[in-house]
């Protein structure tokens, strides 16, 4: 019992603190709302400590195989916790200016995080699904939190309807897999599929629906329709949340289901992922050029990036999975900083979400222009930033497994992608500002955002530690 509880200790910590904050917040007057904020930050910090303290190399299975606590889940949880903590720091002023600095905001964020953590250490399709729903339900509500304007409500509605459809497809696929193998436990499904048991047709159809569900959650073409609208319509703080930590959960979902449970169908899903990756990279990068809103542009950039990540994944070996994990972490760190700068530039009544708003940023503040430069370089894959090494590792893994033509397409589309990232750099450095208002931000947000930006550079120069961690995590669980 004790080891079982140890395995879910981080989840328990997040759940208990979410409940405590939910109740405590009711007794806090609006003027002292920062009490809830700091309680949330403290809970996140404590959970980080728990994850690190209970980390162990050998995987532990608990609750009749429902939960797997291994290095992979610990690494992913760690980055998700950091991402959520940074998201709250970056968006504090933004939320205050828009009347969103409410207890429910923090509590729903924590519940979304709990859902992600459940997904990250899921050992059964049942847990994967419940974690996914917990995360999605909280995110739908967060998108709609700003009740008085119509864009967030519309975005939430689209997100909800399409998300429900994706969940339905996923469940349909899982039911087929259950029908063919007689189990929803990921390990037992893996045994059955590797042993050639079960009806192949049924499994193949189940796989199609499960991959559709995964593709929706990752937001890759042709299941990407929700991404631009939700990124654009949601309050930027929520966009930041949706664009970062859930990608880690979606990666865990993909790895546990495809590389774990459905490893016996590797050949089948590789083909599907090739199509998804190819379409996402081409469409994401081409459509991003035409955007004038930076949130929309970053949404298409997400689509392209997730496609790129899948290219590493479909190599389906240790290097491929490690590179894909590294790519996801790198993307999340970069994405945090990119939306962090957008949040920094916004103020009461002004969203700073147009590309034009970045014009002449260098004159207004050379430091933030430099941070944004690092972010754009990292997204475009310019050395020596983190994004360059991530792209390099993924390409290497794909080429080693013989997907040379796909790698060529990936490089070509990345060159196209570099155009719109570098356009922002050009606007920042070579154009005159249209708006000279000073940039005000809290000290903690400034310090953390600077550290985040610098980390993109430092980790890009010294990627071996992060890469080592990713390889270790994947090795312990899947090789």
């Amino acid at each position: 019992m004790k080891t079982e509880l140890n395995a879910i200790l981080p989840e328990i910590a997040v759940l208990v603190s979410a409940c405590v904050i939910l109740i405590a917040d009711l007794f806090v007057p609006q003027a002292k709302r920062h009490v809830s904020f700091w309680l949330t930050q403290f809970a996140l910090l404590a959970t980080i400590w728990i994850v690190v303290a209970t980390a162990q190399v050998a995987p532990v299975r608990a609750f009749s195989g429902m939960v797997v606590d291994d290095m992979l889940s610990d690494v992913l949880k760690l980055f998700a916790l950091v991402a959520v903590s940074l998201m709250l720091f970056y968006s504090r002023a933004y939320l205050m200016a828009r009347g969103l600095f409410r207890g429910e905001m923090f509590v729903l964020t924590l519940f979304a995080l709990l859902g992600m953590m459940v997904m990250m250490s899921a050992g059964s399709f049942l847990t994967v699904y419940l974690g996914l729903e917990l995360m999605s339900l909280s995110l739908y509500a967060l998108v709609a939190m700003q009740r008085d304007s119509s864009a967030p409500s519309e975005a939430a509605m689209k997100y909800f309807v399409l998300g429900a459809l994706a969940s339905g497809m996923l469940l349909y696929g899982v039911s087929m897999i259950y029908g063919a193998t007689g189990s929803v436990d990921l390990d037992r499904v893996a045994e059955a599929t590797l042993g050639g048991q079960g009806n192949r047709t049924l499994l193949a159809f189940g796989l199609v629906f499960v991959v559709s569900g995964i593709a929706f959650k990752l937001g890759v073409v042709p299941y990407h329709m929700w991404v631009p609208d939700v990124y654009h319509g949601a309050p930027t703080a929520v966009t930041l949340l949706i664009g970062t930590a859930p990608k880690l959960a979606a990666f865990a979902f993909t790895l546990r289901v495809l590389a774990g449970a459905l490893k016996g169908l590797e050949f089948d899903w590789q083909g599907m992922l090739v199509v998804l990756a190819l379409l996402s990279m081409v469409l994401g990068n081409l459509v991003a050029i035409a955007q004038s809103n930076i949130k929309r542009m970053l949404a298409y950039s997400t689509i392209a990036n997730m496609g790129f990540m899948l290219m590493g994944f479909l190599a389906a070996d240790l290097n491929g999975y490690s590179a894909a994990l590294f790519y996801t972490v790198a993307y999340v760190l970069t994405s945090l900083a990119s939306f962090g700068v957008v949040l920094l530039l916004s103020r009461e009544g002004f969203e700073a979400d147009l590309i034009e708003d970045f014009r002449g940023l260098n004159r207004r503040s050379p430091w933030w222009a430099f941070i944004m430069l690092l972010v754009m370089f990292s997204l475009a894959g310019v050395p020596p930033t983190l994004g360059f090494y991530a792209k390099f590792a993924v390409l290497e893994a794909a080429v080693n497994q013989g997907f040379v033509w796909l790698a060529v397409v990936a490089v070509l589309t990345s060159v196209v992608g570099a155009f719109y990232y570098l356009r922002i750099v050009k606007l920042m450095y070579f154009d005159d500002p249209v708006d000279d208002s000073p940039i005000v931000a809290r000290g903690d947000a400034r310090a953390l955002l600077s550290a985040n930006g610098i980390a993109l550079l430092v980790l890009g120069i010294l990627p071996q530690y992060l890469m080592g961690l990713c390889t270790l995590a994947v090795t312990q669980s899947y090789f």
């Binding site: 759940l15 409940c19 939910l22 109740i23 009711l26």
Partner: protein, 118 residues
């Protein structure tokens, strides 16, 4: 096990038969002389002003959804009560945690004022 439900099946069948036959008898025997005046909606002698369908206050929805959530909670209690002797303290504790989590929600909605109608 299915034999136990045979009375229910009979009940449904008899219910349908009685209801259906009464409607049929009414349709066959009663005088039926439609008239445009008779079929028009009657509103104190005026033509109908507007569509009968109108917007509901969103508060009804809130009450309904809170009801459903606690209804679901109760649904989980049935099988628990049936097997309580078998599952021992572990099962008892599991349900207590389940209830505690929902009590948090209940405290929240009460203190928030969502249960007050005004």
């Amino acid at each position: 096990m299915l034999e136990n439900y045979f009375p229910v099946l009979m009940f449904i069948a008899v219910g349908l038969a009685v209801g259906g036959s009464l409607l049929a008898v009414g349709r066959l025997v009663a005088p039926h002389r439609p008239d445009p005046r008779k079929n028009s909606p009657y509103e104190c002698g005026f033509e109908a002003f507007e569509d009968a369908r109108m917007k509901f206050d969103v508060r009804y929805y809130l009450v309904a959804i809170l009801f459903i959530l606690f209804d679901l909670e109760i649904a989980f209690l049935f099988p628990w009560a049936v097997v309580l002797p078998d599952i021992g303290f572990f099962g008892y504790a599991a349900m207590m945690i389940f209830l505690a989590i929902l009590v948090v929600g209940f405290v929240y909605e009460w203190k928030k004022g969502a249960l007050e109608w005004e």
